[in-house]
Amino acid sequence: MKTNKNISFEEIGKELPFSVPENYFEQFASRIDEQIGYKSSGARKLFKPWMYMAAAVFVGIMVLTPVSYNVNNKRVIAQNKDSYESYVLSQVDETALMDCYVDDASKK
Protein backbone atom coordinates (compact mmCIF):
# COMPACT_ATOMS: atom_id res chain seq x y z
CA MET A 1 0.00 0.00 0.00
CA LYS A 2 2.81 2.44 -0.87
CA THR A 3 1.92 5.89 -2.10
CA ASN A 4 3.79 7.66 -4.89
CA LYS A 5 5.69 9.85 -2.43
CA ASN A 6 6.71 7.01 -0.08
CA ILE A 7 4.06 7.79 2.57
CA SER A 8 2.63 4.44 3.53
CA PHE A 9 -0.16 3.16 5.72
CA GLU A 10 2.49 0.97 7.35
CA GLU A 11 4.39 4.09 8.35
CA ILE A 12 1.30 5.72 9.84
CA GLY A 13 0.31 2.55 11.68
CA LYS A 14 -3.06 1.67 13.12
CA GLU A 15 -2.95 3.62 16.35
CA LEU A 16 -5.54 6.29 16.86
CA PRO A 17 -4.58 9.81 17.94
CA PHE A 18 -7.29 9.74 20.63
CA SER A 19 -7.33 9.13 24.35
CA VAL A 20 -9.99 8.79 27.06
CA PRO A 21 -10.20 10.24 30.59
CA GLU A 22 -8.60 8.18 33.35
CA ASN A 23 -10.77 5.27 34.61
CA TYR A 24 -13.34 6.14 31.98
CA PHE A 25 -14.41 2.57 31.21
CA GLU A 26 -14.73 1.51 34.87
CA GLN A 27 -16.91 4.52 35.57
CA PHE A 28 -18.93 4.03 32.42
CA ALA A 29 -19.76 0.42 33.31
CA SER A 30 -20.80 1.43 36.84
CA ARG A 31 -23.05 4.13 35.42
CA ILE A 32 -24.81 1.61 33.20
CA ASP A 33 -25.14 -0.77 36.20
CA GLU A 34 -26.95 2.01 38.06
CA GLN A 35 -29.22 2.77 35.14
CA ILE A 36 -30.32 -0.84 34.78
CA GLY A 37 -30.71 -1.24 38.55
CA TYR A 38 -27.88 -3.71 39.00
CA LYS A 39 -25.91 -3.66 42.26
CA SER A 40 -22.35 -2.66 41.57
CA SER A 41 -19.71 -5.37 41.52
CA GLY A 42 -17.87 -3.58 44.37
CA ALA A 43 -20.78 -4.08 46.73
CA ARG A 44 -21.14 -7.68 45.65
CA LYS A 45 -17.46 -8.37 46.26
CA LEU A 46 -17.64 -6.92 49.78
CA PHE A 47 -19.60 -9.94 51.03
CA LYS A 48 -18.85 -13.42 49.82
CA PRO A 49 -21.69 -15.95 49.37
CA TRP A 50 -20.67 -17.97 52.44
CA MET A 51 -21.02 -14.81 54.53
CA TYR A 52 -24.63 -14.46 53.43
CA MET A 53 -25.20 -18.15 54.34
CA ALA A 54 -23.61 -17.73 57.78
CA ALA A 55 -25.66 -14.60 58.46
CA ALA A 56 -28.86 -16.39 57.42
CA VAL A 57 -28.10 -19.36 59.73
CA PHE A 58 -27.31 -17.01 62.64
CA VAL A 59 -30.51 -15.02 62.18
CA GLY A 60 -32.45 -18.28 61.89
CA ILE A 61 -31.02 -19.52 65.20
CA MET A 62 -31.74 -16.20 66.93
CA VAL A 63 -35.34 -16.18 65.75
CA LEU A 64 -36.16 -19.82 66.39
CA THR A 65 -34.41 -20.29 69.76
CA PRO A 66 -36.90 -18.21 71.88
CA VAL A 67 -39.83 -19.91 70.15
CA SER A 68 -38.44 -23.35 70.88
CA TYR A 69 -37.64 -22.32 74.48
CA ASN A 70 -41.18 -21.06 75.06
CA VAL A 71 -42.73 -24.16 73.58
CA ASN A 72 -40.57 -26.41 75.76
CA ASN A 73 -41.18 -24.25 78.81
CA LYS A 74 -44.95 -24.39 78.38
CA ARG A 75 -44.72 -28.16 77.96
CA VAL A 76 -42.81 -28.49 81.28
CA ILE A 77 -45.31 -26.24 83.10
CA ALA A 78 -48.21 -28.28 81.69
CA GLN A 79 -46.52 -31.53 82.76
CA ASN A 80 -45.89 -30.13 86.26
CA LYS A 81 -49.52 -29.05 86.51
CA ASP A 82 -50.75 -32.52 85.54
CA SER A 83 -48.51 -34.28 88.06
CA TYR A 84 -49.52 -31.83 90.84
CA GLU A 85 -53.22 -32.60 90.28
CA SER A 86 -52.50 -36.35 90.23
CA TYR A 87 -50.55 -36.02 93.50
CA VAL A 88 -53.37 -34.11 95.27
CA LEU A 89 -55.99 -36.61 94.06
CA SER A 90 -53.88 -39.53 95.23
CA GLN A 91 -53.76 -38.08 98.79
CA VAL A 92 -57.55 -37.79 99.11
CA ASP A 93 -59.88 -40.79 99.37
CA GLU A 94 -62.99 -41.01 97.22
CA THR A 95 -65.51 -40.33 100.08
CA ALA A 96 -63.75 -37.16 101.16
CA LEU A 97 -63.65 -36.02 97.57
CA MET A 98 -67.43 -36.63 97.18
CA ASP A 99 -68.10 -34.68 100.42
CA CYS A 100 -66.08 -31.83 99.10
CA TYR A 101 -68.10 -31.74 95.82
CA VAL A 102 -71.46 -31.98 97.69
CA ASP A 103 -70.47 -29.17 100.12
CA ASP A 104 -69.39 -27.03 97.28
CA ALA A 105 -72.68 -27.63 95.37
CA SER A 106 -74.89 -26.89 98.43
CA LYS A 107 -73.02 -23.60 99.07
CA LYS A 108 -73.87 -22.44 95.54
Binding site: F9, L16, P17, F18, V20, I32, I36
Partner: protein
Protein backbone atom coordinates in the same frame (compact mmCIF):
# COMPACT_ATOMS: atom_id res chain seq x y z
CA UNK B 1 -12.70 -10.61 28.95
CA UNK B 2 -14.24 -12.87 26.38
CA UNK B 3 -17.51 -14.27 27.73
CA UNK B 4 -19.15 -17.30 26.25
CA UNK B 5 -21.78 -15.72 24.03
CA UNK B 6 -24.13 -18.68 24.29
CA UNK B 7 -24.12 -18.59 28.11
CA UNK B 8 -24.68 -14.86 28.07
CA UNK B 9 -27.60 -15.21 25.69
CA UNK B 10 -29.22 -17.78 27.99
CA UNK B 11 -28.71 -15.59 31.06
CA UNK B 12 -30.03 -12.52 29.25
CA UNK B 13 -33.30 -14.37 28.62
CA UNK B 14 -33.73 -15.21 32.33
CA UNK B 15 -35.30 -12.31 34.28
CA UNK B 16 -33.40 -13.05 37.52
CA UNK B 17 -30.00 -13.19 35.77
CA UNK B 18 -30.62 -10.55 33.12
CA UNK B 19 -29.09 -7.50 34.84
CA UNK B 20 -25.95 -9.39 35.89
CA UNK B 21 -25.45 -10.80 32.41
CA UNK B 22 -25.97 -7.39 30.86
CA UNK B 23 -23.41 -5.89 33.23
CA UNK B 24 -20.91 -8.52 32.01
CA UNK B 25 -21.86 -7.70 28.44
CA UNK B 26 -21.16 -3.99 28.99
CA UNK B 27 -17.76 -4.71 30.51
CA UNK B 28 -16.89 -7.05 27.65
CA UNK B 29 -17.87 -4.87 24.73
CA UNK B 30 -17.71 -1.27 25.94
CA UNK B 31 -14.14 -0.60 24.76
CA UNK B 32 -14.61 -2.11 21.30
CA UNK B 33 -17.88 -0.26 20.77
CA UNK B 34 -16.48 2.97 22.18
CA UNK B 35 -13.63 3.02 19.64
CA UNK B 36 -16.01 2.00 16.85
CA UNK B 37 -18.15 5.04 17.70
CA UNK B 38 -15.29 7.40 18.53
CA UNK B 39 -13.66 6.91 15.12
CA UNK B 40 -16.86 8.19 13.56
CA UNK B 41 -17.92 11.02 15.90
CA UNK B 42 -14.32 11.93 16.85
CA UNK B 43 -14.99 13.79 20.12
CA UNK B 44 -14.90 11.91 23.41
CA UNK B 45 -18.02 13.59 24.78
CA UNK B 46 -20.06 12.63 21.73
CA UNK B 47 -18.69 9.07 21.77
CA UNK B 48 -19.65 8.79 25.44
CA UNK B 49 -23.23 9.91 24.73
CA UNK B 50 -23.62 7.56 21.77
CA UNK B 51 -22.15 4.61 23.70
CA UNK B 52 -24.57 5.20 26.56
CA UNK B 53 -27.50 5.39 24.13
CA UNK B 54 -26.27 2.18 22.50
CA UNK B 55 -26.28 0.17 25.72
CA UNK B 56 -29.57 1.60 26.96
CA UNK B 57 -31.18 0.79 23.63
CA UNK B 58 -29.77 -2.73 23.85
CA UNK B 59 -31.07 -3.11 27.43
CA UNK B 60 -34.55 -1.89 26.50
CA UNK B 61 -34.58 -4.06 23.40
CA UNK B 62 -33.41 -7.30 25.02
CA UNK B 63 -36.82 -8.92 24.57
CA UNK B 64 -36.57 -8.29 20.84
CA UNK B 65 -33.19 -10.01 20.61
CA UNK B 66 -34.02 -13.51 19.45
CA UNK B 67 -30.46 -14.78 19.19
CA UNK B 68 -30.55 -15.08 15.40
CA UNK B 69 -27.24 -13.22 15.26
CA UNK B 70 -24.33 -13.09 17.67
CA UNK B 71 -24.61 -10.70 20.62
CA UNK B 72 -21.54 -8.82 19.37
CA UNK B 73 -23.06 -8.36 15.89
CA UNK B 74 -26.31 -7.15 17.44
CA UNK B 75 -24.44 -4.64 19.63
CA UNK B 76 -22.30 -3.39 16.72
CA UNK B 77 -25.46 -2.92 14.67
CA UNK B 78 -27.10 -0.82 17.40
CA UNK B 79 -23.89 1.18 17.90
CA UNK B 80 -23.61 1.86 14.16
CA UNK B 81 -27.23 2.96 13.88
CA UNK B 82 -26.91 5.20 16.92
CA UNK B 83 -23.73 6.73 15.51
CA UNK B 84 -25.24 7.45 12.11
CA UNK B 85 -28.39 8.89 13.70
CA UNK B 86 -26.27 11.06 15.98
CA UNK B 87 -24.25 12.38 13.03
CA UNK B 88 -27.41 13.05 11.00
CA UNK B 89 -28.92 15.03 13.89
CA UNK B 90 -25.71 16.96 14.37
CA UNK B 91 -25.62 17.74 10.66
CA UNK B 92 -29.18 19.06 10.85
CA UNK B 93 -28.37 21.25 13.84
CA UNK B 94 -25.30 22.72 12.12
CA UNK B 95 -26.89 23.07 8.70
CA UNK B 96 -26.81 26.85 8.67
CA UNK B 97 -23.56 27.52 10.47
CA UNK B 98 -21.17 25.10 8.74
CA UNK B 99 -20.58 24.75 5.00
CA UNK B 100 -20.17 20.97 4.80
CA UNK B 101 -19.80 17.73 6.68
CA UNK B 102 -16.05 17.65 6.42
CA UNK B 103 -15.70 21.07 8.06
CA UNK B 104 -18.07 20.08 10.83
CA UNK B 105 -16.11 16.91 11.56
CA UNK B 106 -12.79 18.74 11.31
CA UNK B 107 -14.02 21.17 13.94
CA UNK B 108 -15.00 18.17 16.10
CA UNK B 109 -11.56 16.67 15.67
CA UNK B 110 -9.67 19.84 16.48
CA UNK B 111 -11.86 20.82 19.43
CA UNK B 112 -11.48 17.49 21.22
CA UNK B 113 -9.60 17.64 24.52
CA UNK B 114 -8.61 14.01 24.27
CA UNK B 115 -6.70 14.31 21.02
CA UNK B 116 -3.05 13.36 20.88
CA UNK B 117 -0.89 11.29 18.56
CA UNK B 118 1.66 12.25 15.97
CA UNK B 119 1.41 14.38 12.83
CA UNK B 120 0.97 11.42 10.48
CA UNK B 121 -1.86 9.96 12.54
CA UNK B 122 -3.67 13.30 12.48
CA UNK B 123 -3.03 13.60 8.77
CA UNK B 124 -4.68 10.21 8.25
CA UNK B 125 -7.70 11.26 10.32
CA UNK B 126 -8.11 14.40 8.22
CA UNK B 127 -7.85 12.36 5.02
CA UNK B 128 -10.49 9.92 6.32
CA UNK B 129 -12.83 12.88 6.85
CA UNK B 130 -12.87 13.54 3.10
CA UNK B 131 -14.57 10.16 2.52
CA UNK B 132 -18.35 9.75 2.28
CA UNK B 133 -19.82 8.62 5.62
CA UNK B 134 -20.46 4.98 4.69
CA UNK B 135 -17.00 4.67 3.13
CA UNK B 136 -15.49 6.19 6.28
CA UNK B 137 -17.30 3.57 8.35
CA UNK B 138 -16.05 0.71 6.17
CA UNK B 139 -12.49 2.05 6.10
CA UNK B 140 -12.38 2.43 9.90
CA UNK B 141 -13.76 -1.04 10.55
CA UNK B 142 -11.36 -2.70 8.14
CA UNK B 143 -8.20 -0.66 8.63
CA UNK B 144 -8.20 -0.08 12.39
CA UNK B 145 -10.25 -3.01 13.71
CA UNK B 146 -9.49 -5.60 11.04
CA UNK B 147 -13.11 -6.75 11.03
CA UNK B 148 -13.72 -9.34 8.31
CA UNK B 149 -15.92 -8.46 5.34
CA UNK B 150 -18.31 -11.24 6.37
CA UNK B 151 -18.72 -9.76 9.86
CA UNK B 152 -19.15 -6.31 8.34
CA UNK B 153 -21.82 -7.69 6.03
CA UNK B 154 -23.90 -8.91 8.98
CA UNK B 155 -23.41 -5.64 10.88
CA UNK B 156 -23.98 -3.17 8.04
CA UNK B 157 -26.23 -5.25 5.80
CA UNK B 158 -24.04 -4.53 2.77
CA UNK B 159 -22.74 -7.30 0.48
CA UNK B 160 -19.11 -8.43 0.76
CA UNK B 161 -18.46 -7.33 -2.84
CA UNK B 162 -19.75 -3.81 -2.20
CA UNK B 163 -17.74 -3.58 1.03
CA UNK B 164 -14.53 -4.62 -0.74
CA UNK B 165 -15.13 -2.03 -3.47
CA UNK B 166 -15.88 0.61 -0.86
CA UNK B 167 -12.67 -0.11 1.05
CA UNK B 168 -10.63 -0.14 -2.15
CA UNK B 169 -11.96 3.30 -3.18
CA UNK B 170 -11.29 4.67 0.29
CA UNK B 171 -7.68 3.51 0.26
CA UNK B 172 -7.11 4.98 -3.22
CA UNK B 173 -8.59 8.31 -2.22
CA UNK B 174 -6.47 8.57 0.93
CA UNK B 175 -3.31 7.64 -1.00
CA UNK B 176 -4.14 10.36 -3.53
CA UNK B 177 -4.53 12.94 -0.77
CA UNK B 178 -1.18 11.94 0.71
CA UNK B 179 0.54 12.15 -2.66
CA UNK B 180 -0.89 15.61 -3.32
CA UNK B 181 0.20 16.88 0.07
CA UNK B 182 3.86 15.96 -0.45
Amino acid sequence: MNPNEKDLQIQLSQPNKRAGAFSTLVRSYQERLYWHIRKMVLSHEDANDVLQNTFMKAWNGLDGFRGDSQVSTWLYRIATNETLTFLANKRMRNLQSIDNDEDMMLQNLQADTYLNGNELQLKLQKAILTLPEKQRLVFNMKYFDDITYEQMESILGTSVGALKASYHHAVKKIEKIFSEEE
